[in-house]
């Protein structure tokens, strides 16, 4: 084989399977999703699917009560993510001081992230149950018989409980990401600042924060997207009932349980456009700040 032939053989041989899977499992589903969103497809029978134009989208935007609940709910999770990022930064900074025991604390705080999703939900549910650990504390403080139904899906505040569950589970992820960024800061910068007489607070805002600003921004951007896509935590803890439904839960119910694939696809396309718009905005901001934004998707 001539070198040129050999080159072509390698390219074709090595790319064949990845290309087939890229097209079948990544690109085609997105295109078909867009197509389905313009039909009244029921998810089973293509013969009975009719083209309905933009009706699914207009239905989606006019029946506002169905769309409003998940949008409001994603705000609970976004608030949770903000708390999560702040806490993770706080702990990452402390762990980076290399105090005795910091390795042990990092291990402990990361544990929830490596737990099986269903197991983690069961573990956290028994904290929030009516006779759970949290209410044991509440009774200790406010007297016997005082119990808060933290997970009552008829109450909006149950979303706070679910957002807390989400923080509990994913805090370790942000912690490790921020900690990684902190370790890249050269120690001599801190030594120099100390000689100049700067205290911990000043060195945090003058040295630490500017160095990890991009990483924090990336985490914030991911959590905006993440809070729009919440599915697992409410599905596992309250089964997404009542006021705890989210966009993804409604979309999957509409598509698979109620057999209205067309409407579900329209919901997904709507959300996809929103996510892409947010992605482009963060890319633009990051480019101005010179931070490469990419990867991700491991947490959230």
């Amino acid at each position: 084989m001539s070198p040129e032939q050999q080159r072509m053989t390698v390219i074709v041989a090595f790319l064949f399977v990845p290309m087939v899977s890229l097209i079948l499992l990544n690109i085609y589903p997105v295109l078909q999703l867009i197509y389905i969103s313009f039909t009244d497809f029921n998810g089973i029978n293509w013969m009975r699917a009719r083209f309905v134009g933009l009706r699914n989208f207009s239905d989606l935007l006019t029946r506002d009560s169905e769309l409003m609940l998940p949008i409001v709910n994603s705000l609970y999770y976004f608030a949770g993510s903000c708390v999560q990022i702040v806490l993770a930064t706080w702990f990452a900074v402390i762990l980076n001081m290399k105090l005795p025991g910091s390795r042990l604390f990092r291990t402990i705080l990361f544990i929830p992230f490596v737990l099986n999703s269903v197991a983690a939900a069961v573990v956290f549910r028994q904290v929030l149950q009516l006779d759970g650990t949290l209410n044991d504390f509440v009774q200790l403080i406010f007297g016997h018989g005082v119990k808060v139904p933290w997970l009552d899906a008829r109450q909006s505040y149950s979303n706070f409980s679910l957002a807390a569950a989400s923080v509990w589970r994913y805090l370790g992820f942000n912690l490790v990401v921020t900690f990684g960024a902190l370790q890249a800061i050269p120690q001599d910068q801190y030594d120099a600042a100390r000689i100049e007489g700067a205290n911990d607070w000043q060195s945090f805002w003058r040295i630490t924060f500017p160095s990890i600003r991009n990483v924090l921004f990336l985490q914030l951007a991911l959590s905006v997207v993440g809070s729009l896509e919440v599915f697992e935590v409410p599905q596992l803890i309250t089964y997404g009932q009542g006021k705890t439904s989210t966009f993804a839960i409604q979309m999957i119910q509409t598509g698979f349980q109620f057999r209205r694939a067309g409407e579900a696809a329209a919901m997904a396309v709507f959300m996809l456009l929103l996510v892409l718009a947010l992605y482009l905005v963060t890319q633009a901001i990051a480019r101005r700040g010179n931070a490469p934004v990419g990867g991700g998707g491991l947490g959230a």
Binding site: L15, S21, L25, V30, I111, V114, E232, M251
Partner: protein, 287 residues
């Protein structure tokens, strides 16, 4: 650490707040796990009558574990472990083989359409898989994979963009001079890939394999959507179905099931922590 400085009262207070917050957070993480362990050793009556955080009367009461491992009816949890292990093994092997090949070609050759491909992968990171189940299900049905373990193998290996980006990022750091000198000595491109590049990618492969295994073992969403038949259950789905029948099964038994499910990951985590941290840092930040 710089030289030890005198601890003023102000500094001491700061230290106390720092340690205090770490201790409180650790309790928040460990207390729920403690109650789960304690609960798994309680008898059903004991579970209802005692506080969640109280220790069990008998630490050697393995009845709940016996009920999970050897149930009277239904499939034993061992079956779910087998399913998960099979899915994990197949998906990870396919991902490593084809992911490294793809990264090699994209990084080492210039050919028409290369930029388009790179751009497509970069763009697909932004498409969350949770939004496409309606159409992904149709594709899986067309391929004859819907509602089977093979659907999960296909999705875990084929639809994973982040791992591919990690491979590309690693291969970029391997100097092309190695390829060039091997070419001069008469090595074919296949030999260069299998004998030179693949061994040098070992750290990237280890990172991807470990992160992927943790993800697959813990994932609930994909099996819930595409493989929820009992005979195809992964560990997550079996536990999920288990928790859904609370009226006939004692909570104490469910706690035992939870412990059985999380034990392998905890053991693995303690030994492989370093890789997991490194993988998360490189996968999420540098991209």
């Amino acid at each position: 650490m710089a030289r030890r400085r005198k601890l003023t009262p102000g500094k001491l207070l700061v230290r106390i707040i720092q340690y205090g917050s770490l201790v409180i957070a650790s309790i928040a993480v460990l207390l729920p796990l403690w109650s789960t362990i304690a609960g798994s050793f309680k008898t059903p009556v004991e579970y209802i009558n005692t506080s969640h955080s109280a220790p069990p009367a008998n630490w050697l009461n393995f009845d709940n574990y016996r009920q999970v491992l050897f149930p009277q009816t239904g499939l034993p949890i061992g079956w779910a472990f087998f399913n998960t292990a099979m899915i994990m093994g197949c998906a990870v092997v396919l991902l490593v083989i084809f992911g490294t090949m793809l990264a090699f070609v994209l990084n080492r050759f210039r050919f028409p359409g290369r930029r388009l491909l790179l751009g497509t992968y970069a763009a697909l990171v932004a498409v969350p898989s949770i939004l496409t189940p309606v159409s992904t299900f149709q594709v899986l049905q067309f391929l004859g994979l819907a509602n089977s373990r093979w659907a999960l193998v296909a999705l875990y290996s084929g639809a994973d963009i982040v791992s591919i980006l990690i491979f590309i990022q690693f291969i970029r750091n391997i100097s092309t001079e190695i390829d060039d000198s091997a070419r001069i000595e008469g090595a074919s491109y296949f030999q260069i890939f299998f004998r030179l590049i693949l061994p040098m990618l070992a750290p990237a492969i280890a990172t991807v394999v470990i992160l992927r295994c943790v993800y697959i073992y813990n994932d609930f969403v994909l099996p819930f959507l595409y493989a929820s038949r009992p005979s195809e259950s992964t560990v997550s789905i079996m536990l999920y179905n288990f928790t859904g029948i609370t009226n006939t099964i004692s909570q104490a038994v469910i706690m035992a099931a939870v412990i059985i499910v999380i034990l392998p990951t905890l053991v693995g985590f303690f030994f492989l922590q370093r890789f997991i941290y490194a993988g998360i840092t490189s996968g999420s930040v540098k991209g």
